[in-house]
């Protein structure tokens, strides 16, 4: 039983707001997948990655991007998604946070994830499939100055569980991957990121922070494989052992 994607598997990577889609798509290509990258961000990616410029602001635009990906690559076995608007990474104490930033960071983020889940469900209709939603580990630990980001991420994590419960009998698995934030979300550099109780860096027991194109892509490939056929609704924390939650 392979514990990663099989050669030629089709994966749609739908990432809004960050450049994480590029390295992730590359990592999945290295596993032998054929990858469509649906993104609203300028990213570097392997030439083998099929890019589809996507607007995540409406259900219709996301559905259209999924339809285009299917047209180009055929049906996907795995959909990978992250929806974190760039503005949500700008740190601000809540008392000085403008409503526009609050609204974009929470409402737009969760709506984006709902649209992607809806598009994936429509795409999978009648077939088994896997969905992995990922975001910074701040979903689990919170961060001062980033209240809206933490709020939106936890909401996305809850809706992943709802989807897993709702669609499990249709053969659709849905999981969440929390990625150690310190190293690989450059937008967070100015934020007050909580550290482990022992304080200070380097703090991860494994001695390094995870790499999206390698560590995270491998884990996501596993979640998309048959080896993970009984795994759904879960949260996998990939941070080198920093937080050891839940």
């Amino acid at each position: 039983m392979p514990i990663s994607l099989t050669e030629g598997s089709v994966v749609f990577v739908a990432v809004s707001g960050t450049d994480a889609g590029g390295p992730l798509a590359d990592g999945l290509v290295r596993q032998g997948a054929r990858v469509a990258l649906l993104t609203d961000t300028v990213v570097e990616a392997d030439a083998a990655v099929t890019r589809i410029a996507t607007t995540f602001g409406s259900r219709e635009s996301v559905a259209a991007a999924f339809a285009r990906a299917r047209e180009l690559l055929g049906p996907a076995q795995l959909v990978v998604h992250s929806g974190t608007p760039a503005i949500s990474f700008i740190s601000s104490p809540i008392e000085r946070l403008p409503y526009e930033q609050w609204s974009a960071s929470v409402h737009d983020a969760v709506k984006c994830t709902i649209y992607c889940l809806q598009a994936a469900h429509e795409h999978f209709e009648g077939r088994c499939g896997a969905i992995v939603v990922f975001g910074p580990v701040l979903s689990l630990v919170g961060a001062a100055g980033l209240v809206p980001l933490s709020t939106a991420l936890e909401a996305q994590r809850s809706i992943v569980k709802s989807a897993a419960r709702q669609w499990g009998r249709k053969g659709i698995r849905v999981n969440w991957v929390a990625i150690g934030a310190e190293g690989k979300y450059p937008a967070l550099e100015s934020a007050v990121i909580p550290q482990v109780p022992e304080f200070g860096l380097p703090s991860a027991p494994l001695g390094r922070v995870p790499d999206i194109g390698g560590d995270a892509a491998d884990l996501i490939g596993f979640l998309g494989s048959d080896a993970a056929r009984a795994v759904t609704g879960t949260t996998l924390n990939i941070d080198g052992g920093n937080w050891m939650v839940p």
């Binding site: 609204s103 709506k111 809806q118 001062a144 209240v147 909401a155 989807a163 419960r165």
Partner: protein, 262 residues
């Protein structure tokens, strides 16, 4: 006055959604806080329901002020906070309980519309943001400020047919974790209570699926739903007390032991 052993005398609490019906958690929380001696500001969308809660508090010789307030509107939230401060001289305790009744209705994720989202999110989330901005100066001044949000077991486990409600209540967990880190230096605690209670959204949900009720009850170690005042309200009172002054960033389940896998 029914007294709680935890005294909040001299402190002022603002409770959103405190005009809820007989089964409303907001009314139960308001009664419990008043029972512990707090001055209670009842923020209610409809004044008539707020007046009912105030009358119950008055009957027990408690102190309450009713403010008609659509919590999805910033100016009305600001006005409620101002009313608390001008009437009672400060604000120490904020309890955001209000929800939109749509949260009790079942629908699949694929059916969710933007309208569904905003109907619930403007009450559950925007109000929390408005309250935090308006109340912070007074909670700082209090020296023992409390900011409490009502979460839900649905946010923890992800309800199959309440995806928006689950997302919003899950988001509450993120909100309190982050805000607690931000406000810790001010000695303000930020927590959530996640009840399993006989409150309006539960009733609406259960009424649609009677067969779910029996199964749900079988899974409850204590064999019953929480009572708004005695169980949920008193948990909120406890968090407001000095005994809980070092407890922050937590989502505390008040669920009769339903969720043991946290």
């Amino acid at each position: 006055m029914k007294s709680s052993y935890i005294q909040l005398k001299g402190r002022t609490a603002l409770v959103t959604g405190a005009g809820g019906g007989i089964g409303g958690s907001g009314r139960g929380i308001a009664l419990a806080l008043a029972g512990a001696g707090a001055n209670v500001v009842i923020a209610a969308r409809r004044k008539v329901t707020g007046d009912e809660t105030a009358a119950l508090i008055a009957r027990e010789q408690g102190t309450a002020l009713v403010v008609e307030c659509d919590v999805s509107v910033r100016t009305e939230v600001d006005a409620a906070v101002s009313a608390a401060v001008s009437t009672f001289g400060g604000l120490d305790l904020v309890v955001h309980n209000a929800v939109n009744r749509e949260g009790g209705y079942s629908f699949a994720i694929q059916e969710v519309t933007d309208a569904n989202w905003y109907a619930q999110a403007s009450v559950a989330w925007d109000c929390a943001y408005f309250l935090a901005q308006a109340a912070l100066p007074y909670l700082k001044r209090s020296g023992r400020g409390r900011f409490i949000m009502l979460g839900s077991c649905a946010g923890l486990h992800g309800s199959a047919m309440n995806p928006v409600y689950s997302a919003l209540k899950g988001g509450v967990r993120g909100f309190v974790k982050a805000l607690a880190r931000e406000w810790g230096p001010y000695q303000i605690t930020v927590n959530a209570v996640e009840p399993v209670a006989a409150v309006d959204p539960s009733e609406v949900f259960f009424n649609q699926s009677p067969q779910v009720v029996a199964q749900f009850m079988r899974n409850l170690p204590m064999g019953r739903l929480g009572r708004p005042r005695e169980d949920i309200g008193r948990a909120v009172v406890a968090i407001c007390s000095d005994e809980f002054g070092f407890v922050t960033a937590q989502s505390i389940q008040v669920d009769g032991g339903l969720y043991t896998a946290v």
